[in-house]
């Protein structure tokens, strides 16, 4: 066995043979392992952007983390037995509060603390004022809205349900008195407890218009529990809130910046019960440049550390914004761009627009009563009444949430405007849909599909575990219509884009026109035809998709979201325009700014239970301005920008097989480079609407995106953060500021 004995004591032929066999075996084994790894792991790593030396380590770290350190269990929601029976709720516009009341309602001038431009009039803390009152920019006084934060209930479906387990088999269930029901018992879901704007989910919709400022008084009544509801174990534990109009061009005090409230106003993470704040939305484009006008905002909670749980608990509202200038996009299809919409001005000062429908997508999980509630927030005793870690059979059928999901949080019931599997009857004409992803982490990819056999439950098709997410599949579905995308986060595109499908990332908005009078092959539709808005992106956890059109499409993953039934004919004066809103120009020398750009890398960093998500290696620290990574000029500048300036910022995905929807407050940006490639003359194939203005950078694994940003009109601190809300709540956020 030694070198010596090998050359002296053994019969050479036998020795050589034995040694060669050993060598060949070792080499062959290694070779086979390498080939197997390439064949099996290669495509998997490529899909996750990990097919690189660093990626292999990231994949290994992730696998270790998943296997050894971050083991989590989520409940399987009961199966909705009668999908597509509940009508899609289409919200009506909220009426502004009159200046003077009429006996049934107090006018805002009669409030104890009326809103106004004076010192101390921005919130109940009387220590703030609005940075810009509308009259200073030539706008009228704002319309005033009042929205109360209320503890209420919500039903995601009226259908009976069948409790199932992770294998799709019928299982036991419980009620609020912890009575056990045997497997196979059909049940009616209990109502889920919500924290809602005016007590509804989604909350109210404010139809706004450029040139008409809106002041919204958000008043916290979450301490009041008139229905004696169990608050369960999520939502901000002190019932505080903070509202962000995503992505209004708004002064810091009205923007819902979580760090701003730490040093101003309440000087706390949010506004506590029985306090209010007046968020003033000027409905005024950045730099008063019409090209900066947007078309669809939403408002949601932004309370530090609990944004995800508060949003998941219901704090979502809608804010379409129209542009009446020249009638361009004022909700009247007879004028301007003639986008679909028939406007009805209401006597109460609001207006509604028919055929212009917001669709807020939200996924949730309902408690199965047997899944342990356990995360770092329990250790921190935020919800002592829940006595976690514990199972909660009394919460069976109500929303389940995990604050700190190591794999991210995704639901297995998909809802639209608060209703699971809704049905909607449409006229044979064009519609404008305003898509919003209000989910914690789920990304969707939508297609319009038809089917002869219709949806089947995933459980009945033999799917198990994560494959049950979405509950239903349409095995025979085929694409039948196209979308015409007309807007993204930043408002109307320069030109419409025909799309077979499009992705919707958390907090992203996409607006599309769909012509329900004919199919994509030109065949007219007929009354009674059924089309399904279908999600074809499989996302088993909050990390990223496993299958989508861009990466390894799964032809079997077609989850119906809305059943659309073709109805009667209706007049249609709308058109799909050829040209819409021009982009603000880029400076011709923008590439000379590359060397001095600010660089921010979002990354996962383990540490201390819940500080897992960092930017440039640091957790969010409210009172600080972040520092850029070293740029090509060798500098690490602070994230401070002069008012009125412009700059390039780079946002990098630090890897690890995660995607990050990265949101920057205050002004829209324009993507100029993606993965070191100039995209100003045409978007990346995977991101065709890079040629638009956005407020959210969609970062595929390992991607880097360079954006051009302006910093106009206001001064003060703002934030930028990942809009995977589990990431945001766990420190993937940084402060930046505009200086005078």
């Amino acid at each position: 066995m030694s070198e010596e004995s090998a050359t002296t004591n053994e019969v050479p032929t036998n020795t050589v043979s034995r040694r060669n066999i050993l060598r060949l075996s070792a080499a062959g084994g290694a070779g086979a392992a390498l080939v197997a790894a390439q064949g099996w792991a290669g495509p998997l790593l490529a899909q996750k952007g990990l097919l690189s030396p660093d990626g292999a380590f990231a994949a290994s770290s992730t696998a270790l983390g998943d296997l050894l350190f971050y083991i989590e269990a989520f409940p399987t929601s009961p199966l909705i037995l009668e999908p597509f029976k509940d009508q899609l709720p289409v919200p009506k516009a909220l009426a502004p509060t009159p200046a003077v009341g009429d006996g049934s309602i107090k006018g805002y001038t009669e409030w104890n603390d009326p809103p106004g431009p004076g010192q101390g009039q921005q919130s109940s803390f009387k220590n703030e004022r609005h940075q810009i009152w509308p009259n200073t920019i030539g706008s009228p006084d704002p319309l005033v809205y009042k929205i109360d934060l209320l503890l209420r209930q919500h039903a995601f479906t009226t259908s009976q349900v069948l409790p199932i387990d992770a294998n799709g088999r019928p299982t036991i269930s419980f009620d609020e008195k912890q009575k056990t029901y045997p497997a196979g018992t059909k049940r009616t879901l209990p109502l889920s407890t919500i924290y809602g704007f005016n007590g509804t989910f989604p909350g109210p919709m404010i139809n706004a218009e450029y040139g008409k400022p809106a002041l919204v008084r958000f008043e916290n009544h979450l301490d009041e529990n008139p229905l004696n509801l169990d608050r369960q174990d999520f939502g901000s534990p002190d019932w505080s809130f903070l509202t962000h109009l995503h992505n209004g061009h708004t002064a810091p005090e009205s923007d819902g910046n979580p760090h701003y409230t730490m040093v101003s106003g309440p000087k706390y993470e949010g506004y506590m019960p029985q306090t209010f704040c007046d968020n003033l939305y000027l409905n005024w484009p950045a730099g008063n440049d019409d090209r900066e006008k947007q078309s669809f905002f939403w408002f949601h909670d932004h309370r530090m550390d609990h944004t995800g749980s508060n949003v998941y608990k219901g704090m979502v509202g809608l804010y379409p914004i129209y542009d009446p200038k020249g009638g361009m996009d004022m909700g009247d299809e007879r004028r301007g761009l003639r986008l679909p919409g028939v406007r009805k001005d209401n006597p109460d000062g609001s207006f509604d627009v028919d055929y212009d429908i917001p669709l807020a997508f939200y996924d949730c999980r309902l408690d199965d009563g047997v899944t342990m509630h356990k995360d770092i927030h329990d250790v921190q005793k935020e919800f002592p009444a829940a006595k976690n870690p514990a199972k909660h059979p009394e919460w069976w059928g109500k929303t389940f949430y995990k604050h700190f999901p190591n794999h991210g949080f995704v639901g297995d019931i998909f809802t639209v405007n608060g209703t699971a599997n809704p049905v909607m009857e449409v006229k044979r004409r064009k519609y404008r849909f305003r898509f919003l992803d209000a989910s914690i982490a789920r990304i969707y990819e939508f297609k319009l599909m038809s089917s002869t056999k219709g949806p089947k439950s995933a459980a009945s098709l033999g799917y198990k575990g994560d494959e049950l997410e979405g509950q239903y599949r349409i095995p025979d579905a085929q694409q039948c219509m196209q979308f015409t995308q007309i807007a993204s986060d930043g408002g109307l595109l320069p030109f419409p884009i025909k799309r077979d499908s499009f992705e919707l990332w958390p907090a992203k908005r996409r607006e599309v026109v769909v012509d329900f009078s004919r199919y994509q092959d030109g065949t007219p539709t007929t009354k009674g035809d059924v089309i399904y808005l279908t999600n074809v992106m499989k996302m088993p956890n909050g990390r990223m998709w496993s299958n989508s059109s861009r990466f390894s499409p799964d032809p079997n993953y077609k989850v119906p979201m809305i059943k659309i039934v073709i109805g009667d004919d209706a007049p249609d004066d709308s058109q799909i325009p050829v040209k819409m809103r021009d982009l603000p120009p880029l400076p011709s020398n923008w590439q000379t700014m590359l060397d001095n750009r600010l660089i921010f890398e979002v990354e996962r960093g383990a540490g201390g239970g819940e500080t897992e998500w960092l930017i440039n290696g640091k957790p969010f620290t409210p009172n600080t301005v972040a520092t850029s990574l070293k740029n090509r000029a060798g500098r690490s500048p602070l994230a401070q920008q002069k008012k009125g300036s412009y700059n390039l910022w780079e946002i990098r995905n630090g890897g690890g097989g995660w995607v990050h929807p990265f949101h920057l407050h205050m002004e829209e940006h324009r993507t100029v480079m993606r993965n070191n490639r100039d995209v100003t003359r045409g978007g990346d194939k995977g991101h065709p609407d890079d040629v638009s203005r956005e407020d959210l950078v969609a970062l595929d694994p390992g991607e880097s995106v360079i954006i051009y940003r302006g910093f106009r009109d206001f001064v003060g601190p703002y934030v930028a953060h990942c809009h995977n809300l589990a990431h945001e709540d766990h420190a993937m956020m940084f402060g930046w500021e505009i200086t005078p």
Partner: protein, 393 residues
Amino acid sequence: MTAAPAGTAHWSSSGTGASAPARPAVPWLTVIPLAAMMAYADGFWIVSLRGAVGAIERTQEPFASWLRESTVLLPAFVLAVIAAVTLALRWFGPVLAGKKAFLTTALLVAAAGTVAGTVILAASEAWDYALQHDLMGSLHHASSVQSVEQLDQASLGLQLAAFGYGVGLLLLTNLVVTGWTVAIRGGRLDVSRRQKGRRKDVLRPGWTSGWVRGRTGATDLRQTIAAVALFGCAAIHLAVIPDHVNHWVVASVFFLALALAEVAGGVLLLGRPGLNVLVAVGVTSVVPLVLWVWSRTSGLPFGPNSNVAEPAGLADVAACLLELGTLVTAVVLLRARRGGTGGTERHTAASAHLRALAVVGVMALGSLGVAGAVPGWLGDLDTSGNSNHSATH
């Protein structure tokens, strides 16, 4: 094959006519591949575990980290494998006879590699925890209902769990890697080899107190160790120069001069050093030691941060240990020289294996010091930072 009596060092007849007992030498062709395989395989898990639970400052560019750290720590694995084969040599003799001896030696090698890997893993986890602990202190959560202590405990728990799993992974990996490496070498696992180029080892008197072997005039072990230690110190001092250039050029010049002196001392030690050389080596070691103690206790009275004590780091501690070792060796050699016996010898019974252990140990310490001297190599606490918001309206 018949098992040789334990502890014997007889070489079997080679059939070449050289029948005299030969002193066993370190089987580098066995040691280096085994050490390298275990260093890089264990490094993979250590870096991967860091990616799962480590401090974020140390999780960037994992591939480069793996290459760098595994290479830097290779001497530690070489040390471990030499220790294992030395032990096997003592137990089974220069030729492994029988399956038991063979398997035991293989297990010894894997275990030694695991011990090295475990020590490195523990140090890595401890460093991660220290960085995470520092991070906890700057968290906004400190002002919230969540306490830093709870986050700290969670971090510690995670690191301990990672350590536990890591040790198991390393052991399993080293067993597989040892088996594979032995297999790819055709089943060879040598614990020694016969020294080449010598008819036999001849100890001849020298002026030093050690023995000088053979016609080639091999250097005294203590001289070799001191010389290697000086080279290690020089490498560390050269490595810290770039970090000092920006804020204190004088220090850079000092480190350059010191490194040159150490290289010169090392080269002279490898020859036939006279009294002056030994004194010079001693001074070269004493001066930085005194300065180090001064700077780490009360702070130097000059320089940009005068009278401010500097924190100790991996590089300077490693350099100090090497300097201390050099100093002690120089003193011992001086005393022997002054003893004046000239031809009186105290034959060191160090075998080639023990010599190699000592020299590789010093090299491992030097290598660690160099790695610690280069910013970012073994993870730096980033003190650059954010600043407070200044803008209000």
